[in-house]
């Protein structure tokens, strides 16, 4: 079972003293062993310990290695109140807490003296954002084909986690369709599918008769006339029709297919400029009054649709840039197919290498060439065959999945320059490396810490770094959740789509500003400015902001400041009809201080189980709820934080009254500190720099590495945090430290102590 270091944070936040390791080691004998002996040893000791969990054989030297797993299990059982079993003596809350504290505070804290372990990232498929961006940057076409894909699985709060991103058959269907769409957008072709098509209305022919349709042809050329037909079948022979042009029959066809199963009947035509007439005639009407089955009595021909596509075989006069770039050198139509295939392989080499984020191999080129060759041999045009080859490339695992080979078991391997370039670009851009980065990788200049830091710095300044805002901030701060909130229109009539968009924009602009201007990340907590347009300014009660554009404004910090004054966050943490101090408190603990509160007990106690009705304001009712000791221990962490934000309603507007009652936004934190209103709460939170910094680093690491953090990652987090604090907590410093860390630069093989 994986154990997240994040849990350690809770204790810090709850201000349980975090004694030095030796104190904890000593405390095992003094505080922990007696409790285990009293409640656990009956079953979990000696040779026949139940479930193989032996708790009496503790040796300090092993606590952090071989026995980690066992302690994680013990912790889970205690947290879930699952052990000891109900019919055995139960430890008091203080006793449980003492054991939990020792496990999280000592047994699971890694020993950093041996350096940082890199860990291992499971192969990652491109997520939807990455697929869209990759296609955009590879071909210069922004068509977002992945928007139709099923949603990506989320792990540890992010959609970049290799372990959870699965590849179900439905996704492969989408990959195949998207590849065709992309290939047709990149390369112009001359087949009927790509030619302009004009629909012509169809109809039904109940007896021998015909349609005629007049058409105007602007451009001389080859056309395909496509008739979608079916018939009510009756009598000894199938429906029969003839398709003609300008009075001359061109194709006679049997139409044996019945209702519900239209088939297409194509005719190739050469048409001059000018007027033409298309005709479809039904040739063999049949009616048998004597037939008993009414369905077999009458033969009719139905034409669902006629389409004229063309001219075919002529490339459009203005070719897409992507097409011109793809055919950087022409493929000679007169050369033989083998030679053409070689020419294709030559022009495909740079494209495939970029797409695979490493040099394409000869085997791979041969495979791609085979697709081209087969299509050409079937008579497809060069362009169409190239499209199919591109499709093959876009469906292949080397494109869709990000592989990094494993070192031999038990070993650590440094990633090569190409792998590092891809890690950088997917981390900061959610896309593939650009030319500069890819060329640097080819020269072997992406692997030293200095090179990585320099590239990261450059990349953060690139406009593509907005991906970090959209994808990292969008998930860290749960801005993506804004799409799903539905504030009750009766209570919040001002809320609409524009305001929803403005909420998101504010926080995105704010985050971008900190990245772009390389500000201290501590401003997330207490910036005295924000970004608004007229609509949002009105929502916040700010004067003198006109127009749609977002601009930086200074804030009256008694009312707003930092992320916690932003309506996006205040709204995603509210219910549809009211604020939720619990959700807001939980959000702060989880996302700003990496201290998620323990989950509620498995069976939520009924609030009025003993008949006592909860009465009063929301806040009063919550306080009564907290009188229940099994709820109180956690709610006293969450609720006060949420109470401090009660001046913001469920869509983040300022309020002094909640219904009839005046808003009470005062509170007391577990350490006894009191505050009155959001500004004082903000000041208290802003002082918790260490926890916040660590939290942001953990979130960025998780997102950037694509895996959940393990206990040993605490070493990297602490080191990065120290470096960040020493350099003014600038955003670029944290990113630079992350990309230089062993976790980013190396990988270890699968054999792991989890």
């Amino acid at each position: 079972m994986a154990f997240r270091i994040a849990r350690l944070g809770l204790l810090a936040f709850a201000l349980v003293p975090r004694p030095g390791a030796t104190t904890f080691a000593d405390s095992y004998d003094a505080d922990v062993r007696p409790i285990l002996e009293k409640y656990c040893f009956d079953c979990h000791s000696g040779d026949r310990a139940e479930a193989g969990i032996t708790l009496d054989a503790y040796r300090e030297s092993r606590a952090k290695t071989h026995e980690r797993k066992a302690w994680v299990k013990v912790l889970r059982q205690l947290e879930g109140r699952a052990m000891p079993p109900d019919d055995a003596d139960q430890p008091t809350r203080d006793e449980s807490a003492a054991v939990e504290r020792w496990i999280t505070g000592y047994a699971l804290v890694p020993d950093c003296s041996k350096g940082e372990r890199p860990g291992r990232v499971t192969v990652r498929r491109l997520n939807r954002e990455e697929y869209n961006n990759t296609v955009r940057d590879l071909f210069g076409i922004d068509i977002r084909p992945a928007d139709d894909f099923p949603s990506d699985e989320i792990g540890y709060g992010f959609d970049t986690i290799g372990d959870v991103l699965s590849i179900p058959p439905v996704l492969l269907d989408h990959y195949i369709d998207a590849a065709e769409v992309v290939a047709r957008a990149v390369i112009a072709s001359t087949d009927a599918e790509a030619a302009p098509a004009r629909p012509i209305e169809g109809g039904r022919l109940n007896s021998t008769g015909q349609f005629t349709r007049d058409i105007d042809i602007a451009e001389e050329g080859n056309y395909v006339l496509r008739v979608m037909a079916w018939g009510d079948q009756a009598g000894p022979e199938p429906c029969r029709m003839v398709i003609g042009i300008d009075g001359k029959p061109r194709r006679k066809a049997d139409v044996p297919n019945g209702p519900g199963a239209p088939l297409e009947y194509d005719v190739k035509l050469r048409l001059d400029r000018g007027k033409h007439q298309i005709a479809v005639a039904f040739l063999n009407d049949f009616y048998d009054k004597a037939e008993k089955d009414p369905k077999k009595r009458d033969r009719n021909l139905a034409i669902d649709r006629i389409t004229l596509a063309g001219p075919v075989g002529i490339l459009p006069t203005t070719l897409p840039t992507s097409h011109i770039r793809f055919f950087s050198r022409p493929i000679e139509p007169t050369a033989d197919l083998t030679e053409q295939t070689d020419q294709l392989k030559a022009i495909l080499t740079p494209v495939a290498s970029r797409a695979f984020r490493r040099p394409v191999t000869n085997d791979e080129l041969d495979g791609l060439g085979a697709v081209f060759f087969a299509a050409r041999r079937e008579g497809e045009t060069i362009e169409r065959a190239a499209q199919l080859t591109l499709s093959a490339l876009l469906v292949s695992p080397s494109f869709l999945l990000r592989f990094e080979g494993d070192p031999p078991p038990g070993r650590i391997r440094s990633l090569n320059d190409y792998e590092l370039a891809a890690r950088l670009s997917f981390f900061l851009w959610s896309s593939l490396p650009d030319d500069e980065l890819f060329r640097a990788a080819a020269r072997g200049e992406v692997h030293t810490p200095e090179q990585l830091a320099a590239q990261a710095k450059r990349m953060l300044r690139d406009p593509k770094a907005t991906a970090l805002v959209k994808n990292f901030a969008g998930q860290w701060l749960q801005l993506r959740g804004l799409d799903e909130v539905k504030p009750d229109p009766k209570r919040f009539p001002t809320f609409d789509a524009d305001l929803r968009t403005a909420f998101r924009r504010e926080t995105e602009e704010f985050f971008s500003h900190i990245v772009r201007e390389d500000r201290s990340v501590l401003e997330f907590l207490d910036a005295d400015y924000t970004f608004v347009n007229e609509r949002l300014a009105r929502h916040y009660g700010l004067a003198d902001v006109k127009g749609e554009a977002f601009r930086r404004v200074s804030l009256d910090t008694s009312k707003r400041g930092g992320l916690l004054g932003q309506a996006s966050i205040l709204t995603v943490t509210s219910n549809a009809t009211r604020t939720s101090p619990v959700k807001r408190g939980k959000w702060i603990l989880e996302n700003l201080f990496a201290a998620p509160p323990p989950d509620p007990p498995p069976n939520v106690p009924e609030l009025d189980g003993n008949g006592a009705k909860l009465v009063g304001t929301l806040r009063q009712r919550m306080e009564q709820h907290r009188a229940d000791p099994s709820c109180a221990s956690c709610h006293k962490l969450m609720d006060p934080l949420g109470f401090g934000l009660e001046n913001y309603d469920a869509i983040g507007a300022w309020r002094d009254r909640d219904g009839e009652a005046a808003v009470d936004s005062g509170g007391e934190l577990p350490d006894g500190r009191r505050f009155q209103g959001p500004a004082e709460l903000r000041a208290i939170l802003a002082a918790r720099k260490d926890e916040f910094r660590r939290c942001l680093i953990e979130k960025l690491l998780t997102y950037g590495l694509g895996r959940g953090l393990e206990y040993y990652d605490a070493c990297a987090v602490e080191r990065i945090a120290a470096a960040s604090a020493a350099e003014g907590d600038r955003f670029s410093v944290i990113v630079a430290e992350i990309v230089q860390s062993p976790a980013f630069r190396q990988r270890e093989s699968g054999a792991d102590i989890k």
Partner: protein, 445 residues
């Protein structure tokens, strides 16, 4: 544009994009043939509603066929002969069993699997192959798509879901293997295109064969590439590549058998535009597509999730602006229970629509509902207590004459839900041995 028509010719406006009612597609000779076989294909669908159901308004007081319809089932009054209420079934592995909180995640994960989900945010996600996928593995090769997974909600886009469980668990009802969740498709337009628009409608056999050859050559390259990569992969990487490979194989198999069902009679439904704003419209479009998928034999096995487990959706259209999950923790407040009842009834109205559509769809001498086994319910009874031992379970359809609906049946408390699933798999002709947690078959269905 002029139209020349001869004396007796009538032009009817076909192809104008009007949503025509579904006609009896089985009239088409291509499709009618298999339906006339003695062993008519049986369809199977599992419909899920989250957050529990207010059980006093769901469970009939009387047993047998003469029970009085409780309020939540009232929308199904016209169909009462077509479904049974099965009371007393439970899913043991949705309970904590030592794993602590996370009932919503566990509920959805265990509902069709009977397996206790591994508590993890991401590393080593683990559940169990679900009953629909057991059926799909056995029978899926007979149809174009082994199974279909649809639902109104996307997976959650950010944040955490339930108490240390990856969001995958509370948004996924179908697991292909114990480590591969199957995402739902949400957009009716996208579903329509995938199911019914393989290639141009009506394209000629020749054009299709050529397209298939090209598809194969693309897949061949993908397979070669995968085999090259396979060599130096660790175990969890290999698992991902295996997922990829089995997806490729499934597509290849579909190319082999697609010629049969493609005609499909699909033109009779207008292609949807996308996801409707209105939730009810969305559910109904999804229901329409599922009916069409069954009717055209695109698939015989499906899951359909009305909302993700733990859903906080509000229901303004029925004057319930509060979030569903919040209301489900009603604390025995009658006002909240009443609103919960409204949501439950809203959902059964959608069920009634779906069942009605199936029933109205003729197939040979029968109708689609009679040839289906439709399970509707959730893995939480009383949402306030996260009760997984008294589940709301409704079974509709006659399963091709193998089910006798129309009753309220009570079982001994905590009878494994998987006993029911095993009984359903028997009727599908799939092997039920691999289902865990079974203690036998469920009698009286």
């Amino acid at each position: 544009m002029t139209t020349t028509l001869s004396r007796r010719t009538m032009l009817r406006g076909l192809g104008t994009g009007i949503a025509l009612p579904l006609l009896d597609a089985m009239e088409s000779p291509a499709l009618a043939a298999p339906a006339r076989k003695a062993t008519a294909p049986v369809r199977m669908a599992f419909l899920y509603v989250p957050n529990g159901i207010h059980m006093p308004d769901w469970t009939p007081a009387e047993e047998g066929s003469a029970y009085k319809l409780p309020p939540t089932l009232e929308p199904l009054a016209d169909l009462r002969g077509d479904f049974s209420i099965l009371t007393g079934l439970g899913q043991r592995c949705a309970n904590a069993n030592g794993d602590g909180p996370g009932d919503h995640a566990r509920a959805m994960a265990s509902f069709l699997s009977g397996v206790q989900a591994r508590k993890t945010e991401g590393l080593d996600i683990h559940c169990g192959t679900t009953v629909d996928q057991i059926a799909a593995a056995a029978l899926g090769r007979r149809t174009q798509f082994p199974s279909l997974e649809i639902g109104a909600d996307r997976g959650k886009s950010s944040g955490t879901c339930d108490s240390g469980y990856s969001c995958v668990y509370s948004s996924t009802i179908s697991w292909r293997t114990d480590s591969q969740p199957l995402p739902k498709e949400n957009d009716p337009k996208v579903i329509f295109e995938r199911l019914f628009e393989d290639g141009r409608p009506g394209e000629s056999a020749q054009a299709r064969a050529k397209r298939d050859r090209f598809s194969r050559s693309i897949l061949d390259f993908a397979l070669e590439d995968a085999r090259r990569l396979e060599r130096d992969l660790g175990a969890s990487d290999r698992r991902k590549l295996d997922e990829y490979l089995s997806a490729i194989r499934e597509v290849e198999q579909r190319i082999d058998r697609s010629h049969r069902a493609n005609a499909a009679g699909v033109a009779k439904m207008k292609k949807p535009d996308g996801i409707p704003q209105d939730y009810e419209q969305h559910l109904r479009l999804l229901a329409d597509l599922l009916v069409l998928a069954f009717q055209t034999d695109a698939t015989r096995i499906a899951t359909f999730v009305f909302a993700n487990e733990g859903s906080g959706r509000s229901y303004p259209s029925i004057e319930v602006p509060e979030g569903h999950h919040d209301l489900s923790h009603h604390g025995n407040d009658p006002a909240k229970q009443a609103k919960l009842g409204k949501i439950n009834r809203f959902h059964t109205r959608q069920l009634a629509y779906f069942l009605g559509r199936l029933k109205a769809t003729r197939e040979a001498e029968s109708n689609l509902l009679d040839r289906s086994m439709i399970l509707y319910g959730g893995c939480i009874g009383d949402g306030n207590r996260h009760d997984h031992n008294h589940l709301p379970i409704l079974l509709a359809g006659r399963g091709g004459g193998t089910l006798s609906p129309g009753r309220h049946q009570r079982y001994e408390a905590k009878t494994p839900l998987n006993n029911l699933f095993a009984s359903l798999l028997d009727r599908m002709g799939a092997k039920a041995d691999i289902l865990p947690e079974t203690t036998g078959r469920l009698e009286g269905i």
